[in-house]
Amino acid sequence: MLNRQGRPTTPGEAAPSDHKTFTGNKALSQIEPLIFETGRLETTGVDYEAPKSFTSRLGGFERKSEIGLPGLSEPEAMRHYVRLSQKNYGIDTGLFPLGSCTMKHNPRVNEKIARMPGFSDVHPLQPVSTVQGALEVMHTLSHWLLELTGMDAVALSPKAGAHGELCGMMAIKAAIAAKGEAATRNVVLVPDSAHGTNPATAALIHFVVKPVPVREDGTVDPAVVASLAGPDTAAIMLTNPNTCGLFEKDVVAIADAIHAAGGYFYADGANFNAIVGKARPGDLGVDAMHINLHKTFSTPHGGGGPGAGPVVLSELLAPFAPVPFVRHTDDGMQLVESVDEAANHGAHAFGRMTAFHGQMGMYVRALSYMLSHGADGLRQASEDAVLNANYVRACLADLMSLPYGNRPCMHEVLFDDAWLKDTGVTTLDFAKAMIDEGYHPMTVYFPLVVHGAMLIEPTESESRASLDLFIATLRDLAMAVKRGETERFTGAPYHAPVRRMDETRAARSPVLKYTPPQPILQAAE
């Protein structure tokens, strides 16, 4: 069909869709070089006048070598990074069921508020009298976190979850030292299902890690904990809900067993999103727990950070919290910045985790999220997160295998690869086929306690219609596996910006930065 100007208005005979292009681009999917391949050393995308003449005070340390970094004009930079962004999958692109990562919606009002000059354009060492509102944010956030966890104190400054773990374990080490048991109490119990950060954190500060086997139902047995705990036990690091998607039903008995041995209970709060407003760690015997503001409280993951990992502490550990912390006094908000000053207020701060006061930009976003939800919305969010995960479980249980049976889970559901046995399709293949269907894969091969793990966390941000399509897609893929359509999996992804990557090659001879091509030597004449 042609319109009156002769423009075709219906597609004609179509060539096959693997049609090659001159540029190698595929319409919106663009090949984008590195800035070092397109930028020019003399180009800059900023305009500054040369300074008036002055006498250098660099003391002879002028940089004489070329830095070697090209610049881009503003339009070039804009296009470069927009094109790169189009090769990325985010929560706003589609369902992002990455287990234990809580990829929930990131409200944009939080971004707007974090960019208010009163928050973003404030220096950490301005006079305290000029930052009273910033300290009020920290104080208010602390109040919310303590109410939601039922704990006694909070150390806000850790920069991410693993940093929060480190902070909590340092508080425990300081408390042990204060009791004169530093030489003897140095073992930390870590269940096999724990995140890798837990044993890494404990080892970093010279605790000896003792693994705790997970029992057949996917949880930790308090009798095993009791048998492993003794006078050398410093702590247990327990994730609850755990990484199998299950609430540790014997958590109180586990806490009692650890406390009876004189140790402390560190809880990994990565999965707190399942229980906000439903249960409080302080009621479960927890002594320290970090909270990933970038998981439970929606601050953006940003491609791998920045996060924030405040740690809540029990009455026993509260005195050891690191500096800085905020005090609310009759004269307004005060900031306690040194260990000596903390001692003046009766505290035994173990030290400092980071320069300045932590991730203020994340505090603002998390507090905005909390105010938006309120007590009622926070509880509803946890209930919806748990409901969504169980709905996925209920709708896939007949096709995929559940290592711990078809029983209620918390906010994430764990499948294993028993159902893939002898199909020629691995968990990784299945995950890559999901990419072709427009989904980010679930967490794969974690936790380590089940074979070929697939950990699905839909979060509360998904509608029922979205979940139904996701479930239908996974069912279709599962049926394809059973029909023997292995190529759909083993070659996947077919439709992503790149095909499956050669990770072995990357590690064998690492290329970690751009190096300009060497001039080709003249062939011997």
Partner: protein
């Protein structure tokens, strides 16, 4: 609630499909006596207008840097960031993505990390850089632990010119990791004798340049003595913009270079989030903490990027990992990379020159005030001045006159006997009028 798509009907239908009649049936593993019977005693949900109002009220109780002549530094610096940067980092595909564990749908993140690593290596004059740390101070702590792993020793010597918060972070970490840590006394002149501290028991020496007081430090002799004794030199910076103008630590023999990258691309944010830069020599790459992005090819032979050498990391190696770090500063590295791409070496050098020129002019003018003296022989954009009285007191008086004069050294070093010393930074954001206003106001209050 505007963020929750499920309707009451959805919930009822989904519970039916699951085969339970109440949501609490899904929470049955929580001991019933610990399940909360009531809502937490916190306010109920709020609309967007109300949230903005509550938060805006708190924001309005802070004095923002742009609203006054601003000379505060000491590890965080007010710079101009092009509008392009903040626009780009808010693109959904960057903002709402995760760590690039699925490289086929994360090439955007991976390619900018590769660009970031290349930029950091070039700026510091080192072979390789990682994909970032939380900030300069935590990077400094990790560098010390890395040196201990390499040298199989456990004693660090910290310069008295190291930012006191950084020194505190290293001390805390060292104490907890049962390692030794010696810090020299603060020295405003930057002339401390650190060489005499270096012997065959030392794992690493940590020296900051420009140092906390602003002095530019010669690292060459320190590097030589370190290497003669089997120790490593860790060079630290808190003002990355200085690297546009001064000799990079890599050219002075540093083995590990760590620093704060906030100045490029990132706002002050009352102290965070920032971005830690971490670079080293090729031979130490497998002892590095943090993520590394590397080049490779896909199944079709097309160039692409992946996270690599992850057998160093906690999710693989658990208690044998080089660090426990997982999440780092992803989006802040993007901001850094975009701003650095806009600057290029030409723009970076120019803006660094302006910083230096502005600081020199301010130092010269302050030096003419009776009773005020600049204490530095050399500096980049920040220097120390001695005032005739208590510096904290002067800062408060000037703040009341809407001038942010700098950081009293006593705020970070209360026991150093430097109560009359003020750190003053001047960057490209202050105008000539801002500088004059500061100088005039200081004259008036003294």
């Amino acid at each position: 609630m505007r963020y929750l798509p499920l309707t009451p009907d959805d919930r009822a239908g989904m519970l039916a499909k699951i085969g339970v009649d109440h949501i609490d049936a899904l929470f049955a593993d929580i001991p019933s006596d610990r399940l909360l019977k009531h809502l937490p005693t916190l306010p109920l949900h709020k609309g967007e207008i109300e949230v903005e109002r509550v938060m805006g009220r708190m924001a309005s109780r802070n004095v923002s840097a742009s609203s006054v002549p601003f000379f505060v530094g000491a590890g965080a610096y007010k710079h101009h960031v092009p509008a392009t940067v903040d626009h780009l980092i808010q693109r959904s595909e960057f903002l709402t993505s995760y760590t690039p564990y699925q490289p086929e749908i994360a090439q955007g993140t991976l390619q900018y990390l590769f660009e970031f690593q290349t930029q950091v290596a070039a700026l510091t004059g080192m072979d390789v850089a990682n994909a970032s740390m939380y900030d300069g101070s935590t990077g400094c702590g990790e560098a010390v632990l890395m040196a201990h792993r390499i040298t199989k020793r456990n004693k660090a010597v910290l310069s008295g010119g190291l930012h006191p918060h950084y020194a505190d972070v290293v001390h805390t970490l060292s104490q907890m990791a049962e390692a030794e840590c010696v810090t020299l006394a603060p020295d405003v002149s930057g002339r401390e004798d650190i060489l005499s501290q270096i012997d065959g028991t030392v794992s690493c020496v940590v020296v900051q340049t420009p140092d906390f007081f602003g002095n530019l430090r010669d690292l060459r002799a320190i590097a030589d003595k370190c290497h003669a004794n089997g120790a490593l030199l860790i060079a630290v910076f808190t003002e990355v913009m200085s690297l546009g103008l001064i000799t990079p630590p890599g050219e002075m023999g540093a083995d590990i270079v760590v620093g704060e990258g906030q100045s490029i691309g990132n706002a002050l944010n009352f102290g965070g989030p920032y971005v830690g830069l971490f670079a080293t020599k090729s031979q130490y790459v497998r002892q590095m903490p943090g993520r590394l992005c590397g080049e490779t090819v896909d199944a079709d032979g097309t160039r692409g990027f992946v996270l690599t050498l992850s057998t160093r990391e906690q999710h693989i190696r658990r208690d044998k990992a080089t660090s426990n770090i997982c999440t780092n500063s992803g989006l802040c590295t993007l901001a850094f990379t975009i701003h650095m791409s806009l600057l290029g070496q030409t723009g970076l050098k120019r803006v660094a020159e302006i910083n230096h020129a502005n600081a020199v002019m301010l130092a010269d003018e302050l030096d003419t005030i009776k009773g005020v003296s600049v204490l530095n022989q050399s500096f980049f954009n920040e220097f120390a001045v001695r005032l005739p009285g208590n510096a904290s007191h002067s800062v408060e008086q000037l703040a009341a006159r809407h001038i942010m004069a700098g950081v009293p050294v006593s705020r970070l070093l209360p026991d150093a006997g430097l109560d009359d010393v003020l750190l003053v930074a001047n960057t490209e954001v202050n105008s000539d009028d801002d500088r004059k206003a500061f100088v005039e106001a200081l004259k008036e209050i003294l």
